[in-house]
Symmetry: C2
Amino acid sequence: MRSITRSPAGLSLAAAGLAALTVLAVSGAAGTAGAAPAGTDSLYAPSALVLSVTGGDDAASGTVLRAVTLVCAPRPGGNHPAPAAACAELRANGPELDALAEPRSDAACTREWDPVTVTADGVWQGRRLSYSYTYANPCGLRNSIGVLFGI
Amino acid sequence: MRSITRSPAGLSLAAAGLAALTVLAVSGAAGTAGAAPAGTDSLYAPSALVLSVTGGDDAASGTVLRAVTLVCAPRPGGNHPAPAAACAELRANGPELDALAEPRSDAACTREWDPVTVTADGVWQGRRLSYSYTYANPCGLRNSIGVLFGI
């Protein structure tokens, strides 16, 4: 019933890129907030993440304040507030997420120590991903460069 | 715009339990396959996971064959094929997932070494969760006790 299918990774990645561009152009903010199909036989390299915000500087033991899902193949979905934009950012930055998490250089934040930590866990283009970034205080998170952690 | 809300964890867990039961009873297999709302102001302790199946015995470096999302609060959702049942299993077993992943004791599987590894990453009831289980071959996965990893 549940069979293991091995998808050709190279083809999948290329196809996923093309398909994602098409979907972005066609659907816009159509807002099905949609889960992608389970995709047991999908040609796409899977991309599914959980993004979270934790109070404090220790994501492993802290209390998670918010968590959302983000699916990027075969089309953007999940309960992230801006899945299409977040997937586009991920495609542009690969698994190097500092470029998305860091506060903008012109952000006017105090140096108060009231840390919050964001995480991204799951699968990106067929590889497992585990990422975290700690801000000195919530101002840094509010001013992060990307929309990925704007949850 | 993006504000940090700190939800009362104890209250959230109790409320999530009640609400989840209600939703199970009402929605059944209504199949919106739905993403839950982003829940920035949610009373619920967040529960959002990515479940994956990787070829081989090394989830960290192997190629992920399939990955789905599962959201359990405020209601079951994500692109898991059976989110309501999977969330019920998780509530019954907490973060101890061996009881769901293990092959049934009456499973008739050979001892061939062709390993597959399943993982669960993300957030369960407000705490980060990272879990993996390796089967000797796909037969073990097809005969896992729970539906959680039946993706």
